[in-house]
Symmetry: C2
Amino acid sequence: MTANRLIYLPLGGAGEVGMNCYVYGYGPEDRERLIVVDLGVTFPDMDTTPGVDLIMADTTWLEERRDRIEAIFITHAHEDHVGALGHLWSRLKAPVYARRFTATIARLKMEEAGLSTRALHSVLPRPEVVEAGPFRVQFVPISHSIPECSSLIIDTPAGRLLHSGDFKLDPSPLVGEPWDPDAFAALAEERPIKALVCDSTNVFSPHPGRSEATLRAPITELIKGAQGMVVATTFASNIARLQTLAEAARAAGRSICLMGRAMKRMVTAAVESGVLTDFPATVPPEQAVDIPRQNLMLLVTGSQGERRAATAQLSRGKYLGMELKPRDLFLFSSRTIPGNERDVLRVVNALSEMGVDVVDESGGLYHVSGHANRPDLQAFHALLSPQMLIPMHGEHRHLREHVKLAEAAGIAAEIATNGMMLDLTGDTPEVAEYIEAGRRYLDGSVLIGASDGVVRDRIRLALNGHAMVTVLIDENDELLGDAWVELAGLPPVGKGGKPLSETMEAELTDLLSRANPRLLADDGKLDDTIKRVVRQVSVEEIGKKPEVTIVISRLAAE
Amino acid sequence: MTANRLIYLPLGGAGEVGMNCYVYGYGPEDRERLIVVDLGVTFPDMDTTPGVDLIMADTTWLEERRDRIEAIFITHAHEDHVGALGHLWSRLKAPVYARRFTATIARLKMEEAGLSTRALHSVLPRPEVVEAGPFRVQFVPISHSIPECSSLIIDTPAGRLLHSGDFKLDPSPLVGEPWDPDAFAALAEERPIKALVCDSTNVFSPHPGRSEATLRAPITELIKGAQGMVVATTFASNIARLQTLAEAARAAGRSICLMGRAMKRMVTAAVESGVLTDFPATVPPEQAVDIPRQNLMLLVTGSQGERRAATAQLSRGKYLGMELKPRDLFLFSSRTIPGNERDVLRVVNALSEMGVDVVDESGGLYHVSGHANRPDLQAFHALLSPQMLIPMHGEHRHLREHVKLAEAAGIAAEIATNGMMLDLTGDTPEVAEYIEAGRRYLDGSVLIGASDGVVRDRIRLALNGHAMVTVLIDENDELLGDAWVELAGLPPVGKGGKPLSETMEAELTDLLSRANPRLLADDGKLDDTIKRVVRQVSVEEIGKKPEVTIVISRLAAE
């Protein structure tokens, strides 16, 4: 009989921030029973994924082992943990477990994808146990920047694992359960933690994390002091922050108007699932326009400068009847995620042009992170005394630093990036295997592989422009008429002062009308020749090598 | 006789960081004699300018008034102040004045563009005066992050202006002239400053700037403590930093190898122009490979993660024979410019995967800014007591904050963004006129206007993909053969599981072969119909609306 083994395999989130997707397995090699933790997305950018709508882990490995998947667990309702559920569930078809608020969001995701939600189960936190093959899983409440975030206790015959989920050590998170060190200490006392699989995103932040509660006084003071309209933005899922902002508005005698689909959806989900009980009444935009500006606060989406969100819309002019004016106050109660700086600054500068006073988190007063900082991670490690530490959720630099941190405390640790399977059966983590891990893009309504070349081609079009050549060849393999060139995304006029397409057409027509019929009879050679001529002319005239598409139309002999 | 007026017109740099280009004029309205200060570039990004090589101010307004331009002054040799000289000089053709080091770089720019450098004049700092029509201009040395940076004293019949240039108040900049408050106080004593036109980039930095000299001890300590090879990157133009890094290497017994074209070019220019007198001898890469790693430091380009620079090359593997190994030290003695975060982090994570220890400026030990912070600006204002302040070089938010700062000190101030002409003749700045200001792109070897639509088309190709349709129409206005579709940057297979191009072709052929000959006779209508069908099929099959190019080939009647 083969020995059983306990494996860990990240498919997303290990080597990046976002797109979390982790697999655990237990059983004989290559016959392990599997559970999946989180099915998240990450967001496209123009540099690497123009035109893409969403990015998620390539779950081919799991799909090929679908009959071995016992369950999917979702730790919390952030997009980078639940956002791919609607897109990938039908390929995995396992029962999904989440706590109530998370399940509310997960349900919306599945419904939007036209899926039945029968597989979705709302579970209570520990001591409730989900039995999933050889795994016994419990949701352990932990503080983060969204309600009902959970660590997972994953009990296996080979030992107890703790999958931290995203977390911070916040004794007063305002909404949701406070950090409870005794409860976590009890986990390790009950049964030693074999492996702690742990959030790494803030490992470079040197100071202990601050509590959500520290924001209440400065935000209230800021809003009370404002003269004109106040607009505040944060992540819609940060229910505690919305609560803080709303209470500050109430204390300042301001009505609250929610703007942006995600904002309304999250508040609704929070009220429905019972995590938000005392949120002030809100007014819709069509009523808000009649409220005096000094009595109004807008709570809006778009803290990352997203072009279609409410913040960007307001920065461009009137939106849903609301318009910003000089001396209005705009509060970014949020951090700019690396890579979004340009988009956010574009909005801030547009607001500046309107004379709006913009306040952001740079003074440290109006935002706190939802992740555990370096000293918090050290405290967490010390409290749980795991036998080994596997850093997850972070770029490579975060994972590496987290390993160093653990090793300095005498804990065995190993970096596992997406596709790297670790065997956790023994006393130290061992690399077991490398599997093909990649990304899938939701592009319009279609899922495509990141390496399919579709997006690479788009990037090339954007960098190089596109020249399209059409030639007509008659029954005798002779050029019929002139070559025809259409250009897209290329300077129309070359250095000679003549239209670039005409220069190309003249050159091609000249060459092809004098060419050997054997060349014109051979599609491959003709293609190469046309491409070469087009690129030569282009380099000479405009100094660029465009992408070239060639259509050869042949008149069939009668 | 018309009254003379004194005008200020930013064409670049006012409303952005980079692309500096400012115009001053004196004389009767619309007949002012003009001088230009700086001709800089800014850099493209994939979001807004894919495929573009360089971005510079649209100088059409100046070109239309070429006979009125007396001179061009370059304050210092950073790309965002001198980078457009080679590309724009032949359109302006005025004499160019710069100090020696700057002139060395300016000469290279002009030579690369194939221009004569006869118009280029190297001038000494004040008290040397350049007479330029009604203007008397003096270069006043001021500290920055490149040698021989200068403020300009611009004397006019209407009063004395001080154009700050980029600057910081550094009493010990190591290379170049220290900040000399007495010299600047003397300027104002000699003749009151009517208007201070002043660098704004760091107005949000709350603490006084730190001196370049503060870096020497921590950098030396860091490099002395390193075990493996050391690689350090900074802006090549930051000669003082290169000096600091090189001295630290020397103190640690390490040979220095320069890598990257800009690095070698800047050091050469600094030595040639006499600003660098004690730089250690360097070894070329082909010799460096034979030096023991612990005795070597590479000084490399690419602190912003530029893909083709030495840093990124090293992060991808062997470069010029050099290869990084675990426990090598990589020092980013630089700040990441907003917008470059993704590129820099890509490099940092690649280095992390190699096991290289990366140190950056986040601890505040290994980099200082070259610009005056908020308290420094206040001190600068106080020292010069200008009648008015015009903030320049900064995004709108910087300019606005700088105006607030000046007004709080009782100084009249006005925001002027690119294209906004101010009349400085009276006691306060008055908006005189708005001119069409824009950007020009160097795209390959061609200059195109930012609003020409070329780059907009490229962005659309990247976001939407490209479908190209070819149809052949015979002499009787009937479809000949089938419609032909080529796709670029689009998912190849639609939801029906069939190739997207085939679905389009079938739909088009079906429609066109049954269509009324009147439709096929009308290029415009045919175009519209084809476009509509292609987009319909595409939305249905893949949920995207591609860009569509249509080629209709008509066989001529005999």
